[in-house]
């Protein structure tokens, strides 16, 4: 795996190189943004790490220029600035991730690893779950009812997915709780009811045909029929 590193701090750059060599990653250092762009050829590297505050052309501009030539290679921005605006600019310029200095090498490696793996996995085909006029596109985390998109929070989306994956059969409150919350979170069952109500308001309220039903004393199910 070949990694390109733009970092003007010589010591830090050297240490990153040392670390990557222990992980058997081949890393090429650059200290100047303008020089990097002169030498850059698309698809030459598997991953690019860019510091923002560098001589020549800054990291944001370098990122933007690389994206014009190369849409696929993942880019991690590395900076001493942690402002929210900087993060947004990074993503607007086409960066895939953002790491604030000082960072731990394990954290850097986790992100590098995750991006490299994502690159290897081909994009999933769009899988749709359809119940009556309700459509759930899992890969895009989108839900449509009668063709209109319904904005759900991640937790609400996870809940509708749990119900949809049950193929019209009843899912007990306990099952929902186990799947909805990770093992660090404990809730009482009223909270499940609260989230079911959130979903009902968003999915069923405006429609005559109700899709979310309650099996009293047991759980909930998603079906066109009661």
């Amino acid at each position: 795996m070949k990694i390109l590193l733009l970092e003007d701090d010589f010591t830090l750059s050297k240490e990153i190189l040392t670390f990557f060599s222990t992980k058997e990653l081949d890393c090429t250092p650059f200290y100047d943004g303008a020089l990097l762009l002169q030498k850059y050829k698309p698809q030459q590297y598997d991953l690019i790490i860019l510091d923002i505050n560098v001589p020549g052309i800054n990291g944001f501009e370098v990122c933007k220029s690389i994206r014009e030539l190369d849409k696929k290679t993942p880019i991690i921005m590395l900076t001493a600035f942690s402002e929210i605006e900087d993060k947004l600019i990074s993503f607007e310029n086409g960066a895939d991730d953002y790491l604030v200095k000082p960072f731990h090498f394990e954290e850097l490696y986790a992100r590098v690893h995750s991006l490299l793996r994502r690159k290897e996995i081909p994009q999933q085909t769009k899988e749709k779950i359809t119940i009556a006029d309700l459509e759930i596109v899992e890969s895009e985390m989108k839900v449509f009812r009668s063709g209109e998109e319904i904005k759900l929070t991640p937790k609400e989306f996870k809940l509708i997915l749990i119900l949809a994956n049950a193929n019209c059969s009843v899912v007990s409150k306990q099952d929902i709780a186990d799947k909805l919350w990770d093992y660090h979170i404990e809730t009482n069952q009223n909270t499940i009811e609260v989230y079911i109500n959130f979903l009902r308001k968003k999915i069923d309220k405006e429609h005559t045909i109700k899709l979310i039903h309650t099996k009293i004393g047991y759980g909930y199910y998603l079906s066109i029929e009661e």
Binding site: T11, L12, F19, T22, S82, E83, P102, T153, T187, N190
Partner: protein, 453 residues
């Protein structure tokens, strides 16, 4: 006492006293004027009676009584007594009416020529009339019904107008002074609300400035200088924090690589790991200082709505990376407005930092690595309650809870700088929200984050 109240009181009291004095003077002067006028009338009457009786030969006692009765309308309950030089009563106008008189009175008359005195309801006028032949004394008494009624009427008018205008004066003075002082009140309100988050506040100054505007103008100049120096201080903190990050990265990187190196012996590794822990703390402190220095609401994007439950979930996820054993009991209380209440307008990153800090604190200071989060909505507020069991804070510690670099006794043995809650409070202020600490039960700490929607 407020200046406004003082001015109102002084002006109103002065008016009340002056108007009271003026009314009294008017009443006394008019009363004297009536007396003088009545006395003159009695004198004319007495003298005309004597002249008729003495000088006109054709007029006798009976005729004079007739004349008197016909002119009775002029003076009410009039009685005239005329005495000769030997103090013999030579004429009495109405027999049954009574004038209390004595020889002494007549002697007094001879000496002083006239007198005028009050006798019960009657006023008595006496005159000594000296002709070439004989001396006469006339005593005439009457009640001045017309005059007294006028006086009574005047008294009523004065009392009613005094009460009416005094009340009116108090009301108008209070209203006028309040209106005049209104700019000062607004000035006060604006100054009162100035804090480190709204140093850009300025007071409006009229184009034709009065004294208050002049002070406001100077105040605005002062605020310019304060804001500038505050800004410089913040920029310094921000720049210093940024500049410290790169050397810290170098230190972290070098230590981590040396620790990872197989050739480094275990003693050195332990030593380096201890340094790394300190570097991590330093990083955390710099991060906190940077957040505090950047918490300036006018530069932040606070316009988007965010679901607070999702922000809490994201915080719990982050928390579990640092505290894998921590368990969060999470509940939402059902209510009609809960879904709209959960949508809070603000800056997502800052809200996350606030929730991160509160949850982290709850876990660090918990005696069972557990924290309880309860979300509820009441009227127009969303309450996020975060509680744990463990040592609680005493009253003195609670006072300094949100002060920077303040740590409670329960912080013994934990790392931290006492900036976390300060950051939470500052973030919440920016979002028009507040944080409260309470001890709802023994060994239970509760923080309530209260958002207004």
């Amino acid at each position: 006492m407020k200046l406004q109240t003082q001015i109102s009181l002084i002006v109103s009291t002065l008016f009340t006293i002056l108007f009271g004095l003026a009314s009294t003077v008017i009443f006394v002067l008019y009363s004297n004027f009536r007396k003088e006028e009545f006395r003159d009338r009695l004198e004319v009457k007495a003298l005309s009676n004597i002249k008729l009786l003495v000088n006109v030969k054709e007029v006798d006692n009976q005729l004079l009584k007739m004349i008197d009765q016909n002119t009775i309308n002029q003076l009410y309950d009039e009685k005239t007594l005329i005495f000769d030089s030997n103090f013999n009563l030579i004429y009495s106008s109405i027999d049954d009416a009574k004038i209390n008189w004595s020889i002494e009175d007549l002697k007094y008359l001879k000496k002083n020529k006239t007198f005028f005195k009050q006798q019960g309801d009657y006023e008595v006028y006496g005159v000594f009339y000296d002709t070439n032949y004989k001396d006469f004394y006339a005593l005439i008494s009457a009640t001045d019904n017309y005059g007294k009624r006028k006086l009574l009427y005047l008294r009523y008018i004065l009392i009613i107008s005094y009460v009416f205008f005094t009340v009116l004066c108090w009301i108008l003075t209070s209203f006028t002074v309040r209106k005049l002082m209104n700019p000062l009140g607004l000035f006060h309100q604006k100054i009162k609300n100035i804090n480190e988050n709204n140093l850009e506040t300025r007071i409006e100054v009229n184009s034709e400035p009065n004294e208050i505007d002049l002070i406001a103008n100077e105040f605005n100049f002062m605020m310019d200088r304060i804001q500038l120096s505050y800004q410089k201080q913040k920029e310094f903190t921000a720049h210093a924090s940024h500049e410290l990050r790169t050397p810290l990265s170098r230190i972290t990187a070098q230590i981590e690589n040396t620790v990872a190196n197989k050739e480094t012996n275990s003693e050195s590794k332990n030593f380096l790991n201890r340094i790394l822990t300190d570097v991590n703390q330093l990083t955390e402190l710099i991060h906190s200082l940077l957040i505090l220095s950047k918490l300036d609401n006018k530069n932040l994007k606070n316009n988007e709505f965010h679901r607070m439950d999702e922000i809490i979930f994201s915080s719990i996820e982050k928390l579990n990376q640092a505290f894998p054993e921590a368990v969060i009991q999470f509940d939402i209380e059902e209510s009609e407005t809960i879904d709209s209440a959960l949508e809070i307008k603000g800056n997502k990153n800052l809200l996350e930092i606030a929730i991160d800090n509160v949850l982290k604190n709850a876990c660090i200071y918990s005696n069972n690595q557990q924290a309880n989060v309860i979300i509820s909505a009441k009227k127009n507020i969303l309450i996020i309650s975060v509680s744990n069991t463990g040592n609680t804070l005493d009253i003195e510690e609670q006072k300094n809870l949100f002060e920077p670099f303040s740590r409670g006794k329960n912080a013994k043995g934990t790392t931290g700088f006492g900036l976390g809650l300060r950051i939470v409070q500052r973030i919440l202020i920016v979002h028009n929200a507040e944080i409260k600490y309470s001890v709802p039960a023994k060994n239970t700490n509760e923080f309530q984050l209260i958002f207004h929607f």
